[in-house]
């Protein structure tokens, strides 16, 4: 159900472009106005969300400790999984953000013969998401050849690695294929695993279909339905230097690709995609487990009503005296 709505939404986005580049002739809207609006929405939207999170304080130190604590000198503490120092926290966050440490730990628990659980290492989700995120990043970085003039040699290096297969011309980039494969896997598991299907919302399918659309249109454009890259870059450079221009004759596939990318980035700050920023702010990961060593202050701490010892002794003085427990007031 959610998947169908999301799929139709992406199809509608494509149809909008077809209409816009066809009879309506809205190239300027699609190629200039919408990209600018998207940039503003994305940048301000993300910053706004982060600031909003930042305004809520972190009252307590609540790291999820995933290893031995630092205690006695002769017991080896787990510096990355249960960090007690800032360096350790940076290491833990680095592993989390770059290598998805927590997902790497993933197990699958299945019931066999009635009531025996087997808990096995489950690496597919970790591999799928790692492949997805890293290939997406590399694809994005590769696109900077269209955003920069002159193009720095680092990008050539990345392209050389990415295109190491040297198949065809233009040469195949591995990252694009991995991206499409990984995002398809992430979609597939939402259909295939009953529990994941049960929890999936429209807002889970939508970005997946959108990214599939982006990857497909990109691959089509590079290898099959060719467009004039020089004109494409001219359009982009026009945007970046604030001298917008719509060169003639760029194929519709370019506008489809661009519009879907805009849709993704404009959708970003309103959606779960904010996990990109949120992961850095997660209090169960970015705090050191040192709250017994170092005082941590809650900015909204307030005095509370307590049952004092005096009140307690008042209630039980007789019984305490009989039991020969010392009291303050005889």
């Amino acid at each position: 159900m959610g998947a169908i709505v999301a799929f139709i939404a992406v199809i509608i986005l494509v149809l909008i472009v077809l209409a816009g580049t066809g009879a309506a002739n809205l190239h300027f809207l699609l190629g200039v106005i919408i990209p600018y609006l998207t940039f503003v929405t994305f940048t301000i939207g993300v910053a706004y969300r982060v600031v909003k999170w930042g305004r809520s304080p972190v009252p307590f130190r609540i790291p999820t400790t995933a290893g031995q604590q630092k205690s006695l000198s002769w017991i080896k503490d787990s510096k990355l999984d249960n960090p007690s120092t800032t360096t350790g926290v940076i290491g833990r966050m680095g592993l989390e953000v770059l290598l998805f440490r927590s997902l790497f730990r993933n197990t699958s628990s299945k019931l066999y013969n009635g009531s025996i659980f087997a808990h096995k290492w489950e690496k597919w989700l970790w591999m799928g998401s790692l492949a997805f995120h890293w290939s997406f990043l590399i694809v994005l970085i590769r696109h900077f050849r269209l955003f920069m003039a002159p193009v720095p040699s680092l990008l050539h290096l990345i392209e050389a690695f990415d295109g190491f297969l040297q198949i065809g011309s233009p040469g195949i980039f591995v990252s694009g294929i991995i991206l499409l494969g990984a995002v398809s896997y992430l979609l597939f598991r939402r259909f295939y695993i009953p529990q994941v299907r049960y929890i999936s919302l429209t807002s889970d399918y939508f970005p997946l279909f959108l990214i599939i659309g982006i990857a497909l249109s990109g691959i089509l454009m590079r290898y099959f339905i060719k467009v004039d890259v020089v004109s494409a870059k001219e359009l982009i450079m026009g945007l970046l230097t604030f001298k917008p221009i719509i060169p003639k004759g760029i194929g519709v596939i370019f506008y489809i690709h661009l519009f879907l990318v805009c849709a993704l980035f404009a959708y970003f700050p309103f959606s779960k995609l904010m996990h990109m920023a949120g992961v850095f702010l997660s209090p169960t990961r970015n705090l050191a487990n040192n709250s017994r060593m170092k005082r941590h202050v809650n900015p909204w701490n307030y005095p509370v009503k307590v049952h004092t010892y005096e009140e307690y002794e008042e209630d039980f003085r007789g019984k305490m005296k009989t039991a020969k427990i010392p009291v303050e007031k005889e």
Binding site: F39, T43, P57, M148
Partner: protein, 132 residues
């Protein structure tokens, strides 16, 4: 606590990354490259027409060259029949570069602009150009 000391630098880094393409290109007048068609060989042509249309060649020349290479090297076939019915010899050096002898002002101008490094010249010898 609020961690302003970490969140604000984080946001500044974020802003720096997303606006990078803008300030990197700031003040640079990057003109669209116009490949030069003024070689003697072209000027001698009666009908100034490549093996296929200009629009097709702009978008598809790399794939055409790839097909030519495969046809010549693998199948030993070196005759290309264009969509206008004319026959051409499939050869980078003897057909393409005969007219477009100005590699620097023809091939390289666009390739440099969109940061493409074709590996044609790994095997082929680039034409000698008089340095003007």
């Amino acid at each position: 606590m609020h961690d302003a000391g970490k969140i604000i630098p984080g946001l500044i880094i974020f802003a720096a990354i997303v606006t990078f393409p803008f300030y990197y290109n700031m003040g640079k007048a990057v003109e669209r490259p116009e490949p030069k068609l003024d070689t003697p060989a072209i000027q001698e042509l009666k009908e100034k027409q490549c093996v296929e249309s200009k629009e097709f060649m702009r978008a598809n020349h790399m794939q055409l060259l790839n097909q030519w290479r495969d046809a010549v090297v693998r199948d030993g076939n070196n005759v290309y029949i264009g969509s206008n019915g004319k026959k051409y010899t499939m050869s980078l050096q003897n057909t393409c570069m005969k007219c477009h002898s100005n590699k620097k002002n023809f091939c390289d101008s666009c390739h440099k602009y969109v940061a493409v490094r074709p590996y044609c010249w790994d095997c082929h010898i680039a034409p000698k150009e008089s340095k003007l």
